[in-house]
């Protein structure tokens, strides 16, 4: 329950801000000049704030679209990410947002129309499909009842011929999607992990079974679905855990009509990892064996035991190897770029 809302003075009259504030009649509403005064200041504790996050309503100025880092896309030529929201109501212990942001408060940028205009402008400069990732700095759907993000963007981006929107989520907030006509330019991508990983590390996120059922409903409704197995947490007994896990996944999801599947090792920029250890000094997840590569820590299961490779082999029982996209892994094999054009 949100009991503190910060709102930038410039948007106190914005209809979206007003309607969100209206939903929380008991919340204290505090005006600020810029969201950064509250969100970016030093001397905040992400872990403590996570117990009781506030909502910050803000205006996002340009640039609103950013190029996607290499090795983090679905193989298209033009890839951008944008963030209508910073942070997430779930509390995955491996989440890099803990190391990236000083604050666990949610920042919701209410000027959706400006995002859509900028997306249209950028798409107009490219002739091929433009992949737009909305779940880099947040979970795309987890705050849907509050944000109406998917309801707005799925419909708005359907008007842009070459726009392909990826909604990435662990949540089961699919009601607005089920009310929207599916279009070929939207991929609903669910992040999944074996039950033991989800139970131990994905605090507050729906259990595997609920995520799969939500995914199935979205697939049945006609949306393209993607599966995201990223990060693969290094665990012992990986082969049997992943065999059982993928059997569960593909008992619910029709593998032949899955749009894309990604798999990635557990990796963290070193600076983020350092902050996360400071927040959770007694978390064994960050204490295991790891390699350092160009400023990134790559956690592995054991010497000679690459959980990503094991998971990939198990996954290949259901999905052809050329459809599995590896996202930055220690021993990433050469995979030809895949055109994820939705048409």
């Amino acid at each position: 329950m949100i009991d503190t809302i910060y709102v930038e003075a410039a948007i106190t009259g914005h209809p979206r801000a007003l309607s969100i504030i209206h939903r929380f009649p008991k919340a204290r509403v505090i005006e600020c000049t810029s969201y950064q005064e509250v969100f970016n200041r030093r001397q905040q504790n992400f872990r403590v704030q996570k117990t009781h996050p506030a909502l910050i309503l803000a205006h996002k100025s340009k640039p609103r679209l950013h190029p996607v880092p290499e090795g983090q896309h679905l193989g298209a030529t033009h890839n951008y990410y944008f963030s209508h929201l910073l942070n997430c109501p779930f509390d995955c212990r491996y989440c890099f947002l803990q190391g990236m942001f000083a604050s666990a408060n949610y920042v919701l940028f209410v000027n959706y129309e400006d995002f859509v205009t900028e997306i249209a402008d950028v798409c107009a400069t490219h002739s091929g499909p433009v992949h737009l990732f909305s779940g880099y700095d947040c979970d795309s759907l987890a705050l849907e009842p509050l944000s109406n993000f998917a309801a707005h963007f799925v419909a708005a981006l359907a008007e842009i011929d070459n726009a392909v929107l990826e909604l990435r989520t662990k949540s089961t907030q699919i009601r607005s999607l089920l009310k929207t006509s599916p279009n070929p330019g939207t991929i609903v991508a669910m992040s999944l992990a074996p039950e033991s990983v989800a139970a131990n590390l994905e605090h507050g996120a729906p259990p595997l079974g609920e995520r799969l059922r939500a995914m199935r409903r979205v697939q049945d409704h006609g949306f393209k679905v993607g599966l995201r197995f990223d990060p693969i947490i290094p665990i012992s007994d990986a082969a049997s855990v992943f065999r059982h896990f993928f059997a569960q996944v593909f008992a619910e999801i029709n593998s032949s009509s899955v749009h894309s599947v990604t798999l990635g090792g557990f990796r963290l920029p070193k600076a983020f990892a350092k902050r996360m250890v400071r927040l959770y000094p007694n978390e064994a997840l960050f204490a295991g064996p790891r390699d350092e590569l160009n400023g990134t820590l790559i956690y592995r299961g054991d010497v000679g035991d690459n959980t990503v490779a094991i998971a990939r082999n198990e996954l290949a029982r259901y999905i052809s190897a050329d459809k599995i996209l590896l996202q930055h892994s220690v021993d990433q094999p050469e995979i030809p770029p895949q055109d994820a054009h939705p048409q």
């Binding site: 000049t33 001397q43 403590v48 704030q49 509390d91 131990n200 665990i235 064994a284 997840l285 035991d305």
Partner: protein, 278 residues
């Protein structure tokens, strides 16, 4: 490492009911400021104004152990144009009238009263034109306390003492003490809630003893910090192995020790069930 709750007040009349309620006694070693305390609670009578409040915070932070976790609560009277006299309020924004600097205390647990913006003045002011509280300490208090603690643990709690210049003229020491005293128990339970939050979320890392290793070899400052980190990781993933294993038998230098212990860690996979700091 322990959690200290620090109460910063301007006036002796504000302090008196808190000293009673928290059962504090005078710290005879304190110099230059009146400090009261008991166990993990400190109260400083800072004097009036933001500089005095800042000095009081600095004094406590400088005299307590460097690894203490601090909770800071500034308690005192404040003016407001319309709030009922005697009511309790907490600041959700503090504006330094002289500099324009703005601070936002963060609420990470339920608070015991309504919250308002608080403007901090350099000199007495009774032109309470807007819906804000007014005091003379909060900005100096907050700016300094935020050097030592994160903003979830720094709060200004005010008792509304007056709505106008005329009211101020009627305030006596007894009235102020009575107004604060009414809310002392509430302040105490809020402080306890913050302490609980700090204890459960600011826990230090597990520490394994380093003395034997440090006595045997010379470790540079950087190596000592690497060694502390290795010991923390060891406690988490190799708890069932003796620490530091066979390092004494096998190593010839501090550098050897670090690479030997690191190599041991690199062979040890994490067990998911032990990985659950929520």
């Amino acid at each position: 490492m322990h959690t200290l709750t620090n109460l910063i007040v301007a006036l002796p009349s504000e302090a008196a009911p808190l000293i009673d309620n928290f059962r504090l006694s005078r710290c005879t070693k304190a110099r230059g400021l009146k400090v009261y305390g008991r166990d993990n609670i400190r109260l400083v009578i800072a004097g009036v104004g933001k500089i005095a409040a800042a000095a009081a915070v600095g004094y406590i932070a400088g005299t307590e152990p460097a690894d203490a976790r601090h909770i800071w609560i500034n308690i005192g009277i404040a003016g407001h144009a319309t709030l009922p006299k005697g009511s309790l309020a907490i600041a959700h924004r503090i504006i330094d009238r002289a500099t324009g600097a703005t601070f936002y205390p963060a609420f990470a647990c339920p608070v015991p009263c309504d919250s308002y913006s608080l403007t901090c003045h350099d000199a007495p002011n009774t032109a309470y034109a807007d819906a804000e509280m007014h005091d003379m300490e909060s900005s100096g208090f907050f700016a300094t306390a935020s050097r030592f603690s994160s903003v979830e643990f720094i709060h200004s709690i005010k008792v509304i003492s007056d709505n106008s210049a005329r009211d101020i003229g009627l305030l006596t020491r007894e009235i102020i003490s009575e107004m604060i005293g009414v809310h002392a128990a509430t302040v105490k339970s809020f402080a306890a809630r913050l302490e609980c939050l700090a204890d459960s979320h600011l826990a230090p890392g597990i520490a394994l003893p380093l003395e034997a290793l440090l006595a045997r070899w010379h470790f540079t400052a950087t190596q000592q910090s690497q060694l502390r980190d290795i010991a923390r990781r060891w406690a988490l993933v190799r708890a069932d192995h003796e620490w530091p294993g066979d390092a004494f038998a096998r190593c010839k230098s501090s550098r050897d020790v670090i690479s030997h212990l690191n190599a041991e860690l690199e062979q040890t996979p994490i067990q998911l069930s032990s990985s659950a700091e929520s």
